[in-house]
């Protein structure tokens, strides 16, 4: 598909470095966890997981996202998608645990919306560096929410893993995780020790080139799974013994260890 010319209809300032852009393009068929390729004309095109049917939530980190922050309501971006494999939607009688760090709350929030609408029991561990960077806490408020901040400005002074260590995960049927890879890997290790990683889904991030599963730039070791097509959501069982938590590759294919 060609990029869909999409007008920005609303911008929400979530925190000093995070904004949500709403578009006049709706991805009604999108499954939570799926992404769109966002083309910032004249700059670059980057993958962004949908934070809603017509929205992306962006942290300012590079050229493309900085350029996005210069755009206003009425400006346009090109959107292609939804692409990739999203989260498994829980069944009505299942109990779910969300673990989200920083802007990692964005891919999980649409799942929380669905879960809330179905009346499914939820528990969220929501972490960030400080209280003004806590994202979408109201969207997770359908159940218990434990907040952690690195600086102790709100909730528990520490990391989501500190909270997870004290949480009885055997109670939950499904666990969903998104955040910085180091955080996700620590979560993975805790859950693997409890054999709970196989009921857990992780939303991964890698450098995407084509974004449609052809070029192989986001292929993971050792099985060559493509994050853009076979993922970006992976079951913990698929990540056992993989590069996850250890290294990634940049746009030239050179490895960088975490």
């Amino acid at each position: 598909m060609r990029p869909i010319h999409s007008k920005i209809t609303e911008i929400t300032e979530e925190s000093p470095n995070v904004r949500t852009f709403f578009f006049d393009t709706q991805f009604d068929e999108a499954i939570p966890g799926q992404f769109v390729m966002v083309w910032v004309h004249g700059t670059d095109e980057v993958p962004m997981t949908l934070s809603g049917k017509n929205s992306i939530t962006v942290q300012k980190v590079g050229d493309a996202t900085s350029r996005m922050f210069e755009l206003g309501i009425g400006d346009h971006m090109g959107l292609r998608g939804p692409f990739g494999r999203g989260f498994t939607i829980p069944k009505k009688d299942e109990k779910v645990l969300f673990i989200a760090g920083g802007v990692g709350a964005a891919p999980i929030a649409p799942l929380a919306d669905i879960v809330k609408a179905r009346g499914i029991e939820t528990h969220t561990i929501l972490g960030s560096r400080s209280c003004d960077e806590l994202l979408f806490r109201e969207r997770f408020a359908c159940g218990r929410v434990d907040i952690t901040t690195d600086d102790g400005s709100e909730g528990r002074n520490g990391f989501v893993t500190d909270q997870l260590a004290e949480t009885d995960t055997s109670y939950y049927d499904r666990i969903y995780v998104c955040g910085p890879e180091i955080m996700m890997y620590k979560v993975f290790e805790i859950l693997e020790a409890r054999n709970g990683h196989v009921k857990t889904e992780f939303s991964l991030h890698r450098y995407f080139k084509c974004g449609i599963g052809v070029c192989g730039a986001c292929g993971m070791d050792p099985d060559g799974l493509r994050v853009c097509r076979d993922g970006p959501v992976f079951n913990g069982g698929e990540l056992e013994g993989s590069e996850f938590g250890h290294y990634e590759r940049d746009s030239s294919g050179c490895k960088y260890h975490f």
Partner: protein, 299 residues
Amino acid sequence: MKIAGIELKNPTILASGIMGTTGAALARMSRNGAGAVVTKSIGPVPNKGHNNPSMVELECGYINAMGLPNPSYPGFCEEIKIAKSKMDAPLIASIFGGDAGEFTEVAKGLLSSKPDCFELNVSCPHAEGYGASVGTDPELVHEITASVVDAVDVPVWVKLTPNVTDITPIGRAAESAGASAVVAINTVRGMAIDIHSGYPILGNRFGGLSGPAVKPVAVKCVYDLYEALDIPVIGVGGITCPEDAIEMILAGARAVEIGSAVHDDVQIFEKISKGIDIYLQKYGYSKTEDITGLSHEMI
């Protein structure tokens, strides 16, 4: 089947630039039935490639301008070793450079990882100073091919660009310089524009067209090269099903490479090689060679 100096498991080969950045991805394509795999094109220095969008699906195929991203030969040796440790299929190392010296440097630099063959990329349509910038000049192609053939002890294939008036002089240059095969075609130079914003869609503004739209171009190039050369021709361009591969073989291809079709189906290799076998059986042939170039006799 032994073709152009290497033993293929079947006539379907993973084309360069597709799932070829890591050893793990190459091995996965072998598990999915590829008779051999070609790596991403590797050059003398690490290169990030062009900005995105770098590949977009159009109505008739795909347009891409990756810009030869690669970690360079020292970084890629490990990936080749990983691929080779995980699969039996031959591995063909695609390489590029700006001149004969760079091509030879890269080829020699990869030798320790023991690729089974080299494919010289003198045909990428969108990298200034590389690829088709050198591959449209028969003298340069001859010089580069001869230099690499002299430096390595494995077969050397040369991948040709269709973006020339006549592809056969370039093919002859490769053959006379000692190439074991020519591979035709690389992508067809092209462009797509977003009519709403006015921006060319690719980050590099223009790029190369692949997929179903280019198959007739590829069939004609393979047909012409088969007439002009004695060395085998490997056909590539828009093959998405067994019928496409058979058409390419009838035009003169000894084997085929498959790229963009991986988008719709990662198991494409197995499907196409099985389909070729069924065709051979149906028409009473025993091997692919029996039908290679058969269309040339139909006059």
